[in-house]
């Protein structure tokens, strides 16, 4: 086990390194840099800025230096914990991210828990009562959940909610609680607003998970030991939970790390549609204005989360299933 852990962590380092390079490169891809876009936007508004000022600004932010130099400067700063300053917002990147990261995490993890709490029982039910009406209904819902893109679902839910209650469910707080200090009532208000993004971000994953859970359990239930246990008089419920469920559940729970990137993406889209101040709108704007430090910081952080999630997932799987420890 320890050998496995060590090997996985060692492999992590080159992976992380390449991720930093890719994060950096992606943001540099659009032609020009932040200031060319800035000048463009200003001139569209009819304002003018001296080329010398632009050059001075470029120098100040170190954008006039070759890519490699910029990259190493950036990496050096990051390793020291300094993510730099966002040009657009004129604030340290860390400040901007710290303000929004909690919401992103809340929605993503909320969605994760929601997905598992919802999918596992439904998957079990579907498998145990195969070909019953419930099974068909859930399979249908599952398919539809798989087919409807996240943002579409968000739009439809927004519209439905508006039709029913006459309120537009955007943002995280109702107007009266938006800037208020934390209180119990505010927390309740938050939960009232959070359920929609959590459900929307989670449905795609839930659909897939239900199918996997159902398929796994069905495979297990056909095995001879189930027949033996039944013939020996074990009650159905005990029978189900003592053996087949655990075996079937194993791969499901151990891939929990893999759902993280998926949820992040889903959460991104949902926040954009519902107007929730998470990392998503910040990132979109940063990418479009080529606010390099902010955008690459977001990509880097999200990727690092994903890598960590995958690592935890692999560790969990290795811990639960000894066969994995031999291979790598």
């Amino acid at each position: 086990m320890k050998g496995f852990l060590l090997r996985r962590i060692l492999l992590l380092i080159p992976t992380l390194f390449i991720i930093t390079v890719i994060s950096f490169m992606i943001i540099q891809l659009p032609p020009g840099d932040f200031f060319s876009g800035y000048v463009g936007r200003l001139s569209a508004r009819g304002e003018y800025i001296e080329p010398e000022t632009v050059e001075a600004l470029r120098e100040q932010y170190g954008l006039d230096q070759p890519m490699i130099v910029q990259y190493f400067k950036w990496m050096g700063n990051i390793l020291r914990g300094d993510f730099g300053r966002s040009i657009q917002w004129n604030k340290p990147v860390i400040e901007l991210l710290a303000a929004r990261l909690p919401w992103t995490l809340m929605i993503s993890f909320g969605a994760l828990i929601f997905v598992y709490i919802l999918s596992v029982p439904i998957g079990i039910l579907s498998a145990v009562r195969q070909y019953s009406i419930m099974d068909y209904i859930f399979t249908l819902i599952g398919f539809i959940g798989l087919a409807v893109p996240n943002f579409l679902f968000a739009l439809m839910l927004l519209w439905g909610y508006y039709k029913i209650t006459g309120n537009v469910a955007v943002g995280l707080f109702s107007p009266e609680y938006a800037l208020a200090p934390w209180s119990f009532a505010r927390a309740i208000d938050l939960i009232k607003h959070l359920w929609m993004p959590i459900i929307i971000a989670g449905t795609g994953g839930a659909a897939a998970l239900i199918r996997v859970m159902r398929a796994n359990l069905l495979d297990e239930l056909q095995k001879p030991y189930v027949v033996v246990a039944r013939s020996k008089g074990l009650s159905e419920r005990k029978l189900l939970f003592k053996y087949p469920f655990r075996v079937a559940f194993n791969p499901v729970i151990s891939t929990i790390g893999w759902t993280l990137p998926f949820l992040v993406g889903g959460e991104l889209v949902v926040s954009l549609v519902l107007g929730i101040p998470t990392i998503a709108p910040l990132f979109l704007k940063a990418v479009m204005t080529e606010d390099m430090l902010l955008a690459s910081a977001v990509v880097l952080i999200l990727s690092v989360f994903t890598v960590i999630g995958t690592l935890l997932s692999d560790l969990l799987l290795a811990w639960l299933d000894p066969r994995i420890r031999e291979a790598v």
């Binding site: 659009p30 579409l152 739009l155 991104l268 990727s303």
Partner: protein, 373 residues
């Protein structure tokens, strides 16, 4: 009686000597859901190809008189209760309401427009080459807006049909690109193993570690805004393919790893077959069906990807028409409140994705020799 027995024996014989592809085809035909989905897809793709002919109106024509007009209902019975064999729609009667700042539309029962097949309507150039003006269906006078109109009075149904061209074809083109890359890389990785394999696997791991949507967002901003629609189209396709090839590469690699240990590979090598012949004549055909199923199931990912990107404003942009671009219009709640038919492209997106999923499932079941049908 004897004839029946002979006929059965013949059928059984056919089954026993049938080639692998025939068996797959027969199994697929039995899968009713997949067959139905396939028919739906064929209809969609034919409509996209012959869009100019099938769409009742020109998708780009401004109609200032009909902004956000509601869909027209098709009637068979008119006001006096007469039955018309030919279905018809009523004309619009519009009134501008200054208090709510929009136009209210009502059916004007005095204007009756029968629907004809193969009518002469707006002129077009089929595939941009052949001029014509015959449409599959339409009205001889007046306007036909079966799905209502949008912001500039443009027919929603026509826009959906034209939009299908981009949204549906991006899936196919993207899959073509990713499959070429995926199969080659995955094949090399799996067949030769060793250092190549480890190296490729690490790269794939890195790529899938970066969350897809942020990656796509960042990449699509790289497309210069002055690029023509065609270039943007190919740019988006390549961006979408960059992530999806990894799934295919992994599948192919897994198969190669497993199959190169097989006895028949060793036998082929002993007989003097070169590596190329072993790969293409022996190993590859054994899992081509699996690849096709995996490819079909990856198409929805591309469709969702393009739709999401265009919806966020990062993919195809107006004046290009794709389902994502159409849905971008539907983003404001105000508009949804009084013109919900704007959301209709969504229905087509969902149906396409469902259809591809069913067809892919059917293909997978059909190519699995161990499933019992």
């Amino acid at each position: 009686m004897k004839q029946k027995k002979e006929a059965l024996k013949k059928q059984e014989n056919n089954f026993l000597v049938a080639s692998q592809w025939q068996l797959i085809r027969w199994k697929f035909f039995k899968h009713k859901l997949a067959m139905g989905a396939l028919i739906v897809l064929v209809i969609f793709y034919l409509s996209a190809i012959f869009a100019e002919f099938i769409a009742p109106n020109d998708a780009r024509m401004y109609n200032a008189d009909y902004k956000y007009a509601p869909p027209q209902t098709i009637h068979f019975f008119d006001e006096e209760g007469n039955f018309h064999l030919r279905p018809f729609v009523y004309g619009y009667e519009s009134k501008w309401e200054p208090e709510i700042y929009r136009t209210i539309y009502k059916e004007d029962k005095s204007l009756l427009y029968p629907i004809y097949f193969l009518v002469r309507g707006d002129s077009y150039k089929l595939f941009g080459l052949f001029p014509g003006n015959i449409h599959l269906f339409g009205t001889k006078e007046g306007k036909l807006f079966l799905f209502g109109t949008g912001e500039f009075g443009r027919c929603v149904l026509s826009k959906i049909i034209y939009g299908g061209r981009i949204s549906l074809s991006i899936g196919l083109v993207g899959i073509a690109i990713s499959s070429i890359i995926g199969i080659i890389i995955g094949g090399l990785s799996g067949y030769f193993g060793g250092k190549i394999d480890i190296f490729v696997q690490r790269i794939i791991e890195v790529i899938i570690s970066i969350p897809t949507i942020p990656l796509w967002m960042a990449l699509s901003v790289a497309l210069p805004p002055f690029w023509s629609i065609t270039r943007v189209y190919f740019g988006i396709t390549i961006i979408l393919s960059m992530v999806t090839w990894t799934t295919l590469a992994r599948v192919v690699r897994g198969k190669f790893l497993a199959l190169r240990e097989e006895d028949y590979v060793m036998a082929a090598r002993m007989s003097g077959a070169g590596e190329g012949r072993i790969i293409f004549r022996h190993i590859l055909p054994s899992f081509t069906s699996h690849i096709i199923a995996t490819l079909t199931l990856s198409i929805p990912t591309m469709i969702i990807g393009e739709t999401t990107l265009s919806f966020l404003g990062l993919g195809m942009r107006p004046p290009a028409i794709s389902w994502g671009v159409l849905l971008k219009e539907a983003q404001q709640i105000r508009i949804l409140e009084y013109a919900p038919w704007i959301l209709l492209p969504a229905v087509f997106v969902v149906i396409s994705i469902l259809a591809f999923n069913f067809v892919g499932d059917g293909l997978r079941d059909a190519s699995d020799p161990y499933s019992n049908i």
